[in-house]
């Protein structure tokens, strides 16, 4: 189906979005197909959704999966009953899409140093910038489920309560998954972490 979609089509008048700070109004406007509301919802969640996808499926496929997530978000809004927070629901979709993708493609492509160098971000505060690359590489070795909890809790800074809501599990499960993920990471990174502590060059390890 080689249809080229005209992007600038007439849409329902943006009636409420100006004041739509709360989720309910935003959701209602998106359901009506209001362009500004949809874009607002996208911008509210793009960073976390893309970050989740990027860390779980890898740089190469992140864009494709993030697209899929938002298409599903807008397609699914009609059936969204509001028994979870909008953000929780969006991130749950993102985690599910990413984990499904990861399961299909088994191992994510190795994180290349070039790709990481190109990532714009806050000024690195790490004492050892090489460590962050090692951490990325170690994460690529983890089972996808462990990556998900590391991204949600450690990188995105969500509480275990929020993680549990997104992963649809108990708070205790979220905690024990995080413990296992970090223990596995430490096993993988052992020498690098130890070398840093003794002030030696990690390259030697």
């Amino acid at each position: 189906m080689a249809q080229s979609a005209v992007t600038d089509i007439p849409r329902p008048r943006d009636a409420t979005v100006g004041a739509a700070t709360d989720d309910a109004a935003l959701i209602a406007a998106c359901r009506r197909g209001e362009a500004r509301a949809m874009e607002t919802l996208y911008h509210q969640h793009k960073r976390r959704v893309f970050g989740l996808c990027h860390r779980i499926v890898g740089a190469a496929d992140a864009e494709e999966v993030a697209q899929e997530v938002f298409v599903r978000v807008f397609r699914g809004l009609a059936g969204f009953r509001g028994d979870a927070q909008l953000s929780t629901w969006v991130y749950r979709l993102a985690v599910n899409c990413a984990l499904t993708h990861a399961a299909k493609h088994k191992r994510r492509s190795e994180v290349s140093d070039d790709a990481l160098e190109a990532v714009p971000g806050p000024t690195p505060v790490l004492r050892d910038p090489r460590l962050s690359r090692r951490v990325e590489a170690a994460m690529a070795e983890l089972p996808a489920g462990y990556r998900a909890i590391l991204v949600l809790h450690d990188i995105e800074g969500l509480s275990h309560e929020e993680c549990a809501a997104i992963l649809d599990c108990r708070v205790g499960t979220s905690k024990s998954q995080l413990h296992k993920a970090r223990a596995k990471m430490r096993d993988l990174l052992g020498p690098a972490l130890a070398a840093e502590r003794h002030g030696r060059d990690p390259e030697v390890a």
């Binding site: 249809q3 979609a5 005209v6 793009k46 971000g121 951490v135 990188i155 970090r182 430490r186």
Partner: protein, 241 residues
């Protein structure tokens, strides 16, 4: 505290997730155990490294790509044959019928057996008995005699039953209108004799709906009518392509 315990708790300890007394025990052990101190150091480094990983920014073109996909889906939806669009609406319109309330209604009627209340007028007997059945879950061993509470069913309960039946009717009416419009559009291309037969069949089923008592009988009649219209729309679709 043992090293083994500390190994289990170290992540929660570093994240500040432990109750104060547990955290104090961890600190006490770390003061005296160099091996665990080294382990905790590594975990702390790891946690800091994870927290400080550079943020990834979504590419600026992402929204345009999403928009393009949404647009393509809308075009596809608009090009779906009319009968498929109507069936999709039909299916979503029918789903609320099978709510717990509706299931309880029919289950209640079955549990009580057939209860005749010929004296009651207005809203219809089936709905009345159903409401009674719901008010008193009847023991399955004595199905024949309706419990006396039936008489005490108040005006509110009757209204409620009438509202429910009314809502069900409205939903079916909307669905039928959709399907009928479609089926008629298809029927315009049919031979006159077939179109006439179709119109007669539809009318017979409409009469059946009007004649049926509110509640399960009417619901059955509605289903008869809607599934007939559905078959008509589908059958024509298959035959014409």
């Amino acid at each position: 505290m043992t090293c083994r315990e500390l190994t289990e708790l170290v992540v929660a300890y570093l994240d500040g997730e432990l109750p104060p007394e547990r955290a104090t025990e961890c600190r006490g052990h770390l003061r005296v155990c160099a091996a665990c101190r080294s382990l905790a150091d590594q975990h702390a480094r790891l946690r800091d490294a994870l927290v400080e990983l550079p943020a990834v920014e979504p590419p600026p073109a992402l929204w345009a790509q999403i928009n393009a996909r949404l647009g393509a889906e809308e075009i596809a939806a608009s090009e779906r044959p009319a009968w498929r669009r109507a069936l999709a609406r039909w299916a979503s319109g029918l789903r609320p019928i099978a709510t717990p309330a509706a299931l309880a209604l029919s289950a209640g009627a079955v549990a009580l057996g057939v209860v005749h209340l010929r004296g009651s007028s207005g809203t219809g007997t089936a709905a009345l008995t159903d409401v009674a059945a719901r008010a008193t879950p009847a023991p399955t061993s004595v199905p024949v005699e309706p419990p006396p509470v039936v008489v005490a069913v108040g005006r509110d309960a009757l209204d409620e039953a009438a509202d429910r039946d009314g809502a069900a009717d409205a939903r079916f009416r909307a669905v039928t209108a959709d399907l009928l419009a479609l089926a008629r559009a298809e029927a315009a291309a049919w031979p006159a004799s077939r179109a006439k037969r179709f119109a007669r069949d539809v009318e017979r089923r409409e009469q059946a709906v009007l004649a049926a008592a509110p509640g399960r009988d009417r619901e059955r009649a509605w289903h008869e009518l809607t599934s007939f219209l559905e078959r008509a729309a589908l059958g024509e679709q298959v035959a014409s392509r």
